[in-house]
Amino acid sequence: MGSFVQWLTESMFLWKALIIIVIFAITLAIAAYSTWGERKVAAYIQDRRGPNRAGWGGLLQPLADAGKMFFKEDFIPAQADKWLFILGPCLSMFTALMSSAVVPFGSSFIIGGKEVFVQAIEINIGILYVFGVVSLGVYGVMIGGWASNNKFSLLGAIRAASQNISYELAMGMSIIAILMMSGTLSVREIVLQQHGGNWNIFYQPLGFLIFTICAFAECNRTPFDLPECETELVGGYHTEYSSMKLGFYLFAEYINMFASSAVTACLFFGGYNYPGMDFVERQLISGIGANAGHNVATLIGIGSMFIKILFGIFFFMWVRWTVPRFRYDQLMNLGWKGLIPLAVANLIITAVAILSGYKLVGIWVGLAIMIVLISIVWSLRPKKKNAIMGA
């Protein structure tokens, strides 16, 4: 027994368990308050006040919404495949929650002479893990839509599948450019390399643009929310869902938003790095001791990470209440004819810039050359004859 207690305290098991539980709780809390935030942002953009009756400023609204969801009738259509119907939302929620496991939310805490990373698991293929889990996410939507035995649900599910497959390609290729620069798949390593204001956004402006657009598509957010397109498909893949199963689908969307904002922050905005962090850490260490100083500096780093994440979530909402939904063919055109060629071009430019030895300058010059080339080709293209316009 004594050796077991000793093992518990000496191994990282307890601390890791604590960190995982805290990250899990924070993920759920942020997702819950995203629903409140979404309604507030929507209201403020539309010159309204938004929910403000439940609690101060409507802060208890998520609780009221969840309470309402729980008391709704949990309906399963007679012709639906019962088990798949239940599996759909569970899978959606499960994959959404898993994807933030490899995200480093902060540097590390020094506890009892040991360094504990502020991260659920540190694996050297972090990015691949994120992509694997995110790709699984579409199964939740597909299974739910298929099991509902409803045309609208099925159409929504098919759209979700084709959309996610199309945009995952461009997303993956925009990431490869970053992987070439950093030479590692570990998210923590990528974050560490951006130390000192050396953020990837300055090296990969086009990559960031492509990644953001694809992240919107992967999260099924406007302007790419075709899977649940209300105007055409009633409710899309969750037409037949009610009660907390519907709640799970909606909740999974917000968790996905949180996770993709976290990944974006790590890949392009330096994760928990912030300008002047070395200075702050040195001051803290000289002020309150090595361990305490390091731990407090880590806490500030976590704060900067969460500021970036929250801004990411706000940006998701800001775009949702600005841009109308794409048409389905426009969506496919943008994905296959727009983003994938651009991602390939970005890949080539990055490779050339790395080989040339001038990374930063090389990439910007390469992008400028690419834009010039595209405009030349554009101006040389055969003009379309348009009878109406010509008349």
């Binding site: 403020y44 539309q46 309204r48 800001w318 405009s375 554009w378 316009m389």
Partner: protein
């Protein structure tokens, strides 16, 4: 024929590459929405905040008294006839000796009832009244009721209280226009 000068001629020329990239119009749109995000909101949070509804708002009914506190209503029934919703009913009675300080004329309404579920607040009773007895107040709503037994308003709720006399803010259009400034 030009009705307003807001009409814009649509530009049907082909989009340039920059415009085709969708990004400039996206940025413009984001700018517009963020501007609205920080703008002051025009919302009036009703139960806590109330706005002035003007001197001609048609709210709670009142049966006026004259300057000496005598009821003006003579139970002629013109308001009940004018009422399109048939919300008004009354029972007339003759004034007896010693009631001259209560009723202005020889006949008065012993019962005067308005059914607030039927009333549509059109103000036709006010227009029909030859004695300037019935008015719709501009400063008071009929309160929310939750029980049908509270719906028929009798004289106890309608006749003017002499300690809080009802006075309109403006009687002429000119006075009303001044209030709105």
């Amino acid at each position: 024929m030009q009705l307003t000068n807001r009409a814009k001629k649509t530009d049907k020329s082909e989009l340039s590459l920059f415009e085709r990239s969708y990004l400039p119009s996206l940025a413009t749109g984001l700018g517009i929405t963020i501007k609205h995000f920080f703008q002051a909101k025009p919302t009036i949070e009703y139960p806590e905040q109330k706005r002035y509804l003007g001197p001609v708002f048609r709210g709670h009914h009142i049966l006026k008294r004259d300057e000496e506190g005598r009821e003006r209503c003579t139970a002629c029934g013109l308001c009940a006839v004018a009422c399109p919703a048939e919300a008004i009913s009354m029972v007339a009675q003759e004034r007896v000796k010693g009631e001259e300080h209560l009723y202005r004329e020889e006949k008065y309404a012993a019962v005067y009832e308005i059914n607030m579920l039927r009333c549509i607040f059109c103000g036709l009773c006010e227009e029909a009244c030859p004695k300037q007895a019935v008015y719709l107040r501009h400063d008071m709503f009929v309160p929310v009721f939750t029980d049908r037994s509270n719906v028929v308003y009798g004289k106890d709720q309608l006749v003017e209280d002499m300690t809080h006399r009802y006075k309109r803010d403006a009687w002429t259009k000119e006075d009303a226009m001044k209030l709105w400034k």
